[in-house]
Amino acid sequence: MEKSETERVELLYGTLDMLVLQTLLFGPCHGHAIAKHIQRTSDEAFLVEHGSLYPALHRLERQGWVTTNWDKAPGKNREVKYYLLTPAGKKQLTAQQNKWAQLVAAIGKVMRPA
């Protein structure tokens, strides 16, 4: 279900990396699938721009949080670049999740005081 431009939410700065790592937790994935997964699971609220996705993927690769390999896409006769989460990446994801939870809790407290 396509959302209109007004229903879309802009990604918070710095959260794309966390979303990508979270997506990779379920197994190796290529850029196209990662973008689709984030869009689908956010009910199309996030539109992942390719100009942001690929820099994010390469940044994660550079930091050693993901590794890559070229492989055939399932059921298709074309090679795509797969991204795999590394143990360091898993650790990073946990750290980011904790931080995120703290942030949400703190904002929640301010916005909806008990």
């Binding site: 290529h30 850029g31 196209h32 100009g51 690929y54 390469h58 940044r59 550079r62 896409a73 795509v80």
Partner: protein, 494 residues
Amino acid sequence: MNRKERDDELARELRAHMDLEADELREQGLSPEEARLAARRAFGSPALAMDQTRDVWAWNPVDALSRQLRFALRRARKSKGFTATVALVIALAVGVTTAIFALIDVAFFKPLPYPEPDRLAYVTMTFNAASRGTVEQVLTGAQWEILRDNAGSFEPAVYSEWTTGVNCGVGDRAFFVQQQRVGASFFQVLGVLPVQGRSFSKEEDIENGPRAVVLSESLRRRIYGEAAEVIGQKLLLRGEPYTVVGVMPPGFRSGVNVDLWTPLRASTHGEGEGNNYQGMLRVKPGASLSAVAGELDNLSKSLPLRPPGRDGTQWQPRFKVQPLLEGRSAVVRKPLLLLLGAVAMVLLIGAINVGGLLLAKQSGRAAELATRLALGASRRQVFSEVLLDSLVLVAIGGALAVPVSVAALDGLRLLNDKMFGLVEAAAIDGRAWPSRWPARWARGSSRACCPRGRVSPASGGRSLWACWWRARWRSSCRCWWGRAFWGAHSWVCG
């Protein structure tokens, strides 16, 4: 993985992404061509995505700069006429200004090439009459003797700043050389002694004393080649026999262009009756220039008064002491500042011309730049490109300015023989280069123009700049160009 491989892999990755998208769309029923176009549309600009991804890798700033530089050079090559015009204007404007600044630097700012140049001072006589102002003159023989015989906290020296071209005969060879006459204490006061032999003795510096000569290193080489021992050799100057007693170190300069020095033999008659001698002194360790100035003031009281002029004016004589650099350059101060003003105008006109040309050129590119912005280039990229275009032109112009400034300095040699010695010492080097002017002026002017302010105990807690301003203002506010120059100077140097 190198840059090229990573670029290729990234392009392949993005292509695969668009192919996967097209596959999906085809499965939804679109024709292959429609699917391909729709996937392309959905993806946006692959070039932009590649560019932004490239930013992630460390080599990127260098890489981007080198790419933009190559592009700028290519564009400069493409419009040869424009590039040549701009570069030529920059070369001319910067070249001549640099040449003049090299002179100004030597005359006013560059520390003299002697040990502790701050302790060296130039001595002149001033004659003051209430109704007629002040006249400044160099010393007569009698005045020099008063200075010499009453030296307390300073070592005085006397010399003639004029050089004479003379024939120098050695064996059957003849050389045309520049001779300067200096007093016995001259080299000692400057703080540079001969590397071979000795300087003049007192006996050699009196009338009818032994005829002795000190050679410059370059003349020694010209005459005697690599011969080790030259002390005691005889040579003929104006047909009269002289004995070589010393050789100065290589590169030694006594302010003017000199090949050999002979004793001045200052006296109170003949040339000594007129104002023909330059006086200088070195402040002894432990004393200060202001203390010496006080001492000379006291000494001035014992100077014989001149007979009153025909109109009855009574001139009051007084020794004036000022830093050597300032004193020696006093003669060329006015013409140099005038030249500086003229070339500053040339620089300004050049800058305005180049600014206009660049503006016209860049407004011609408006459509191209708009297209590139629309294709996804960032404002930063476009801005840095335009900036780099100008920098390439400036670099070409700057490189051309070096030969121009060297030629301009050569040209100045023909302008004024007074400046000749100065031009010899001036060189187009790092000191003269425009990028260093502000720092040079700020540092150099405080050093060269304010020693009096600095050594004076009366300066107390005043800052160096305050002293400098006071000294400058006092000495230059008498004339309009001084006001204009120092006003502009303070504006430029903050």
